[in-house]
Amino acid sequence: MQKILRKRFLRELKENRYRYLALGFLIVMGMYIVTGLVGAAETIIEGTAKAARENRLEDGQFSVFAPLDEQEKKSLEKAGITLEEHFYLDYTLLDASILRIFSQRDKIDLVQIDMGSFPVKGGEILLERRYCEEHGIAVGDTVKIGSFDYTVTGIGTAPDYESMIRNFSDSAVDSLQFGFGFVTKEDYEELKKSGESISSEEYFYAYLLNGKVTHQQLKALLRDFFVENTDRSVCKMTRFVPAADNPRIGAAADDKLVEKAAGLAAGVIVLILFAYVISVFTVHHIEKESGVIGTLYAMGVRKKELMLHYLTLPVLLTFTAGIIGTALGYSSFGAALQMSSTYGYFSVPRISVHYKLYLLLYGLAMPPLVTVCTNYLVIRKKLDRPALFLIRGEQKNTKVHNIRLRGSFVRVFRIRQLLREKRTMVTVFGGMFISLLIVMLSLNCYILCVHVKTENVEDTKFAYMYTYKYPEADVQGGEEAYGVVMKKETLGYNFDVLLLGIHKENPYFEAAVEKGKSKVLISSAMAQKYGLRIGDVLTLYHEEDDRYYAFFIEGIVEYSAGFFAFMDIDSMREMLGQDETYYNVVFAERELAVDSGRLYSVLSEDEVEKSASVFAAQMKNMVIMLLAVSVLMFVVVMYLMMKVMIDRSAMPISLFRVFGYKQKEIRKLYLDGNFFVIAASALVGIPLSKAVMDRMYPYLVSNIACGINLTFPWEMYVGIFVSVLLLYFLVNRILMLRVSRILPSEVLKNRE
């Protein structure tokens, strides 16, 4: 029997080709995006892990005020630790970008070459890939660093700089502004001697624990050096960063982990929606054929035989769409294309696409599986009805049918029609809700960029922020402050938080700090990222002391450009055992004449502005793509569902034509009632989807060090609502064409 019934499939597809094409297209698109996205994520996660192993990625790094002496290095090596100096110097180039120069590495964090070769003699340099791409630098070109010219011999990447942030606390990557290069050891010394770097040399050591000691044991060993060697009081450890806490390391994989989880979950949600849409068609089909089904039951055909028949076409459709979508996802237009965003942001080597078996199974099995489950649940009841019930085409007398309605005929008719089509309406709402979730994701990305861009600039009232390694005795202009980098974890990521001691009357932050060692005010960015409020207890970890500090949050300061905790400078000095005049940060309205050798870093207002703009530029394409996908999904689902409603009402519509009703009147009865459902759904769906996405969004950007202000201006809500209604009117117009094709003779057709 199935063999004969299967002959219907092609005819069914042909009869409803546009409906199935639209649905098939959406499923293909959905599976293409999901498998492409997840395939890219898997490739990046696995590929970068493999590259890290091959390039001997560090287990961690630490920095000191002054280099370790030979004896200290030897004692560390004796403990089984592999150590390598990763000292560097930062230079401002002619185009104002900053290039970090290292000497070549031999043991840890080896450079992987994309093009060319390592520098072997003086005057040669290997540059980082992203910096070269942004500056259009090719092998053979020349770059000027300080007063020296270098020929680029190679372009590559290093595993300890996947995320090309200059400082650990930076939130955005901007390869136009920052890059790094490797020169020979001799050239590095030459550069150092020239004294042209913008800050003093940084003494970072990369280490491999080799399974002999733990991070904590190494940290204790290092601390012992400084306690034992009291004559080297300046030789203090300034940073100790295990690889897991280093925001530059594994950044691409971290980024993709979120995409992978979100992609797989989104795939299932979207498939459930489409499967439900299909089930509405199937239910409509079953209702249309209820007489046939009843007759076949009367002949002895079993429910499971018909269930199998009615499930086969949706399963075949979704399976085929899944195959095409997965094939596209695995093609060069899929994962490979989606990886380009990673290559365009992170400094990772080129990786060939990894094809994961589970993803292949997901792409091929999930669409039919979700379809079987959803359709089985929905059509089971329909097929469960007795044969006579089906033959007579009786409708179940539900409570909904018994609702007594009052009002004009048109009003009552519309309400009855909506109650009758409640399943379709639920699907429209489901489609709208999922589309709105995508809209909210897209607009959250947009609004985050807007807030970062505008607020960072607005909130940054200083022109320069100088962080000193060796502060001068007196402050040479500007406003003194005392800053200590601490750590705080959220959603699995450990970010730098600057505990900043300031004077109450400082002109750069609206932070009225009070005396007290347990009182802080936090920046708005920090409050948003960590979900902190006034009255909460803030716990910060100080790596250097291996100690936790707890504070009461006394207020929130409007400052979106960083995670800052402000406290009274005198209280902070006392708390951390510094003398009464100690400072290491200076904020200034103009550039100060500071000896670069004394500085850790300089942050200018321009840099804040540039870094904020990078966010917006990076997100633009994604925002547009997500908006397009959501609009497409919403329009198709709404069109298909409303068309089903019209098809189901074809006979009564033709009957109304026989009675003499005009097109406008029929539209009023059958279509215009939907307006209220769409409007009500939008009124509920917009705030609901915004609330849901606002809850989910912090997880999606959990690896980004910036405040999360997702507040929409009211105009945006109005805009979304109006857009939904406009799309509804568009679909309504298109459907009127279908209504106009329903002729009075339809009545006769349906009665055979």
Binding site: M1, K3, I4, L5, K7, R8, R11, E12, E15, E289, G291, V292, G294, T295, L296, Y297, A298, M299, G300, V301, R302, P386, A387, L388, I391, K749, E752
Partner: protein, 233 residues
């Protein structure tokens, strides 16, 4: 006896809307007989047919088909019973719209291991030339012939027809009845035909009159008139 119905009762509704449709129906039909059940609207003839077909459950009483009790069978067993023994023809043809005539018949061919010869059946029913047409391309009579072929192809022992000519004009009705007569003769199928039409009783072996849920008349018709000669259809 092939079919025996004993003291069959069936009612609908509760309280004020309670209605007893069958009030203890008794009759029997011989194997291979053509039997007409007649009665006014609401007399319970369709309900009786549906109970015999296992589409409705009787409140009490018994139905034996070849000495097998039908009442009280589970849903699954009823399905097996219908599959093995019954063919149904309804007033509305209920054909699968996007299957051809031949395919519509084939749907039921697969319900048995010993189907009738499809081509012979189509030939008998005059459907050979229409076998590749879809239901929408057929007249009402042709569609009903297709529905009959579908019911017969699994070679049922008992064919239940509920107003088989109810939606057809006089000439087409006659054609259908001639076919039923032909099939009865050729395959020995026992037939139970529910109809309003008084003329049809002249062509069958047995006539049962139902009134107010009870058998008022049940007689053998020894003076059968061939269907082709029936008047006032």
């Amino acid at each position: 006896m092939y079919l025996v119905v004993k003291n069959l009762k069936k009612s609908y509704g509760e309280g004020g809307s309670f209605m007893e449709v069958l009030k203890g129906v008794d009759f029997s039909v011989e194997k291979g007989a053509m039997c007409v059940i007649q009665g006014t609207s609401g007399s319970g003839k369709s309900t009786l047919l549906n109970c015999i077909g296992g589409l409705e459950e009787a409140d009490s009483g018994s139905i034996y088909v070849e000495d097998v009790e039908v009442c009280g069978l589970s849903r699954e067993k009823l399905s097996d019973y219908r599959r093995a023994n019954l063919g149904f023809v309804f007033q509305f043809y209920n054909l699968v719209p996007n299957l051809t005539v031949k395919e519509n018949i084939q749907v039921c061919e697969y319900l048995t291991n010993k189907p009738l010869d499809l081509h012979e059946l189509m030939d008998v029913l005059g459907l050979t030339e229409h076998q590749d047409k879809f239901p929408s391309q057929l007249s009402g009579g042709q569609q009903q012939r297709c529905a009959i072929a579908r019911a017969l192809v699994k070679n049922p022992k008992l064919l239940l027809c509920d107003e088989p000519t109810g939606a057809l004009d006089s000439a087409t009705s006659r054609d259908i009845l001639v076919l039923l007569e032909k099939i009865n003769a050729k395959y020995g199928t026992t037939m139970l035909i529910v109809t309003h039409n008084n003329s049809i009783r002249n062509m069958v072996n047995q006539v049962i009159f139902l009134k107010d849920g009870q058998v008022r008349k049940n007689y053998r018709n020894d003076a059968r008139v061939p269907a082709a000669e029936l008047e006032d259809l």
